[in-house]
């Protein structure tokens, strides 16, 4: 692994630095959040949950509707989350998803009070944050929908002018703050309930020894903590430091990479020592990762030239989101009327027929131009790889050809710029 790639691994203190040079992190976090919730909630059997003849928490019995309503909610939630993932009507889908997640979690809470239920409420907060700042999310269907109201000149200018390098990510700032508050509460509770017991090894080793005996599983790596008190003390202090420290680091504007990696370490250590996996937290941590830095490290150094039909609204709209990805200006967008002569004179190149990407001596046309475009962005390179494989390429080339050949018939094209101006 190269040093450049290694150095790109980190987390962002969005509270101190809410503005990024690209809207990428916000979009990746949205996809992670929605996908995680779909994966987690799609398996729940609400008929069984509703039919259970007992509740361990009776304070929320009012929230339990008939099983059929819960089943409808489950599938409605999947629909709203899918729309949220692609960024369609974000305010509405984020709010509805949050409400449904919180309601289903409340029903689940009547049977299980632990982390795998309460994590759903944290996810519900994150959804609300996305809804509150929906306009910040530029890499979304909503952004594309807004582009449909833009004039041809605005669309062309968006592609050809330098990108404004200031994109706020307030939903992630608020998620980081909420996690900081929740973990701070956890740390304070440990000090309040355990006091000085948390500063020696006894508490942790006793938890390990009694749990393994009670549940009848092997101590495994936990034996190391039991046998070497210094490691147990270090783990106890580390737990307190991270739980209390995240909020402090966030508020004073300190880097959060180390606390987050320590937290990640605990998320790996806890399953192997105590047999408990907080899988939900891994997704929250992933949402705060600096994906833009990784994208930059994985992207090729040299850029490409792209020639598009600036008389075709569909063509310009299809490139709209790529421009937001192109924070480092690796792609030079040229309207076909302003394409460099070296390209216009190339044999076989027909700008009226297709979009082109030029990478040195190589010219990519149509579907393959899109694939070359995807390859310019580190995080999208797996998509580019997939686009080069059959049957994706087989289908993709034919779809592109059909759309390109019929764009005047089916889509808004042939813009008269003199009239538009």
């Amino acid at each position: 692994m190269s040093l450049r790639l290694l150095r790109s691994f980190g987390f962002v203190n969005y509270h101190a630095y809410p503005t990024r040079w690209t809207p990428l992190n916000l979009a990746v976090a949205r996809v992670i959040l929605g996908s995680y919730l779909i994966w987690k909630t799609m398996w729940y059997d609400w008929r069984v949950i509703a039919a259970t003849p007992f509740r361990v928490e009776e304070g929320y019995l009012w929230a339990i509707p008939p099983a059929s309503v819960l089943v409808v909610e489950k599938y409605l939630l999947i629909v709203t989350l899918l729309l949220f993932v692609v960024g369609y009507r974000l305010r509405l889908t984020a709010f509805l998803s949050s409400l449904l997640v919180a309601h289903l979690a409340t029903v689940r809470f009547s049977l299980y009070l632990g982390g795998m239920t309460t994590a759903l409420f944290i996810a519900a907060y994150a959804l609300l944050f996305f809804g509150l700042y929906a306009r910040q999310d530029k890499l979304s269907v909503d952004s594309l929908r807004r582009a449909t109201t833009q004039s041809p000149v605005e669309l062309r200018d968006h592609l050809t002018r330098p990108l404004a390098m200031a994109f706020r990510a307030d939903p992630l700032r608020l998620l980081l703050l909420a996690l900081g508050v929740i973990y701070f509460g956890s740390g304070v509770d440990k000090l309040r309930a355990g006091g000085l017991a948390w500063f020696d090894s006894v508490h942790l080793t006793r938890v390990l020894v009694t749990r393994t005996a009670f549940y009848g599983y092997d101590l495994g790596l936990g034996k190391l903590l039991v046998d070497v008190p210094a490691i147990a003390i270090l783990s106890s202090w580390g737990t307190l430091a991270v739980e209390l420290g995240i909020l402090i680091a966030v508020l004073i504007g300190a880097p959060v990479t180390i606390p987050m990696f320590v937290l990640l370490g605990f998320m790996i250590l806890i399953p192997v020592t105590m047999g408990i996996l907080f899988a939900d937290v891994l997704f929250f941590i992933a949402m705060l990762f600096a994906w833009d830095r990784l994208d930059r490290a994985l992207s090729p150094a040299a850029g490409v030239d792209l020639v598009f039909d600036d008389h075709c609204l569909l063509c310009m709209r299809s490139l709209h989101l790529f421009k937001y990805l192109d924070a480092d200006a690796r792609v030079r967008f040229y309207p076909q009327s302003e394409a460099p002569a070296t390209y216009t004179n190339l044999e076989g190149v027909d700008f009226e027929r297709s979009m082109y990407v030029f990478d040195g001596d190589h010219a990519y046309e149509g579907y393959w131009a899109f694939r070359a475009l995807f390859a310019q962005f580190g995080l999208l390179r797996p998509v580019a790889w997939l686009m080069g494989r059959s049957p994706v390429a087989f289908v993709g080339t034919r779809i592109y050809r059909y759309v390109a050949d019929n764009r005047s018939r089916h889509f808004a094209c042939a813009v008269d710029f003199d009239a538009a101006d």
């Binding site: 259970t52 361990v56 928490e57 009012w62 509150l132 608020l174 956890s186 509770d189 009848g216 599983y217």
Partner: protein
Amino acid sequence: MVPLMLFGLTTMKLVGMVFFVGFFVAAGIAIRFSDVPKVRKGFLAGFFAVLLVVAVASPVQPLPMIQWHKFSTPVPAEETLLQLRVVDSNGQELRYDERATLTVDGVYLHRLLDDIVEADPAEQQEIGVYLLERAHFHRDRVENPDPTRPFRFPPNFIYAKWSPKTLEGYDEFVNLRIYAVTMVTSDDGRRLIETREELVLDFALDGPSGDDVGSADATGLDQWAIGDGVATAVTPMRPMGVVA
């Protein structure tokens, strides 16, 4: 507390309902008018103020506000926990798998066991029938795994679950038993000095099992019988191991 009854809700439950509904009404308004900074900021200020109080100092969790308190209370040198076991027709015991209680994940079993011990006979019977039926269902699911299982969301607990191997040699499950397991650890918490257990309740679809159980109703059907209250040495059970 003076119980305020409204549609069968006590004061605390009513407050919980109003808070939950009020929270999402406020959130909906804040999102609808999120272009107005004052509205958005007002909602967020209230949100974080309540979250801080609940996470740090509140004795209750007014949903959707939660706290994340894990393993805060120190384990005493002598601790007693209730444990549920299934018993096959040959009298072999196996610790109940929490995942049996629901199709996905499970219920808060230790809290449920506390409730069962305190419940009236009719409730105990209903829960006993349910848990034994779920044990049969879960056993079948473990022995004939659903092909979608590897694709499911990772479970919270990854230890001590039933697997086809741990179920080998067990006949049909016919009883449930609740034991009070007492564990005594050394002062430094590194060694288990003593473990003893006491049968608290015994449940069978055909009435209580075993001659040694002090039965409340030896001829009744689907009954939980009260244990004899005699502490015994721990019954050796096969370790269940780790199942991902």
